[in-house]
């Protein structure tokens, strides 16, 4: 029994930290995956609204220069990121499950956002971007690291969503 309790106690911090993990990148020969997660004390509808209102992004998100278009199922958007402001990424909204899961991307990779209510008024937010393919090793060195930008994105989203809830 004592061993069981100890095992349970050890799993709790692991679970919590998995929901609050700073950005990390896993590099493989043909792909690179960056992920970040955070717990947000806000209504999932509000977080979803922030993630899907293209025109409003630059107001609250310090990693986005602009997003043009509608973030709706099957729609194409044009994104400019602070990582490379001169470049416009032409992306397609590939998955759109309201308040749960959003994916946009192109032929080289996908960015996915997942919201999971914790049942206590908080939401586990995670963001993952995987880029890769057979040609990936040839252009990998030209792609800047995403980690700092991912941390800022998650922090900005958390700050904005929680601020709205307090008003």
């Amino acid at each position: 029994m004592t061993k069981l309790l100890m095992l349970f106690a050890m799993t709790i911090p692991t679970f919590v930290s998995a929901q609050n993990a700073p950005a990390a990148t896993v590099r493989k020969t043909f792909s690179r995956t960056t992920s970040v997660s955070t717990v947000i004390k806000a209504d999932p509808a509000v977080i979803w609204a922030l993630l899907t209102n293209a025109a409003d992004y630059k107001r609250w998100n310090s990693t986005v220069v602009s997003i043009e278009g509608d973030i709706e199922p099957g729609e194409k958007i044009r994104l400019k990121s602070t990582l490379d402001p001169k470049r416009t990424f032409k992306l397609k909204v590939k998955t759109f499950e309201p308040e749960k899961h959003l994916v946009w991307g192109d032929s080289k990779g996908n960015r996915s956002y997942t919201l999971t209510p914790n049942g206590d008024g908080t939401v586990a937010f995670s963001m993952v971007e995987k880029i890769g393919g057979l040609m990936f090793p040839m252009y990998a060195k030209y792609i800047p690291p995403f980690d700092a930008s991912f941390d800022r994105f998650a922090a900005d989203l958390k700050q904005e969503a929680e601020k709205i809830g307090k008003e």
Binding site: D43, A45, V46, N53, R59, I164
Partner: protein, 260 residues
Amino acid sequence: MENFTTEFERIRPQLRSYILRITASVADTEDIVQETWLKAERNLDSFQGNASLKTWLFAIASNLAKDHLRLKKRWTEDCTDICRQAALGNRAFFEEAMNIRMTSPQGNFEIKEHIAFCFTCIAKSLPLEQQIALLLKEVYEFKVKEIAVIMDLSEAMAKYYLHTARSKMIEVFDRRCALINKEGICHQCTELNGIFNPKQNAQEELAKIDMARAAESGDKEHLFDLRMQVLQGIDPFESGAAELQLHHLEHNRKVMEGYL
């Protein structure tokens, strides 16, 4: 409800100004307010009294306005620049306006009236839900839970629409309005004051407006609150400048509908 007609008439002025500020059209406003009365009277039995009659009537009117505007494009943040340019090339517009100025008991020009007019135009650049939430809270002083009832959404989403709308309008006016920012690119209220009240000293007129006096503070949130207080104090159908401003609003609506 025995006194429904009396109660409706009491609320009607607020409903009219609210719908005018959403649609920017006098004719559409009159239609929507009349339809609100008919719909409310028809469905009076379904009014449970869980919300106030005012909240219920604003909900009916808001839905009718949303249906009416669903297919219409939103205006742009620079709508007043576009309309100014169109007005400069429209001699008849200025002749009509000057005639109203000279002959109508509601033909005065006051800077604060134009501040309210200007907000009506620029708030039409917000997504409709944001515009509605902002007006309900900041001008008609509904509580968040009442706004949630009127708009049929959660309180969390009502807060989201309010927050995004307010943030956006603060940013737009801070960037554009020369009354609160010396670098602001829009001077139309003082420009028009010079045309309609050539003998007035614009600085003296501005000194009468709390928002203009407080501009030096640079407190954007406070300046926006003061702007909203200007709107709260003006009934666009009954004020001393009503006919002149409604004529101008009609001009802007036609220009924007042609432009978009």
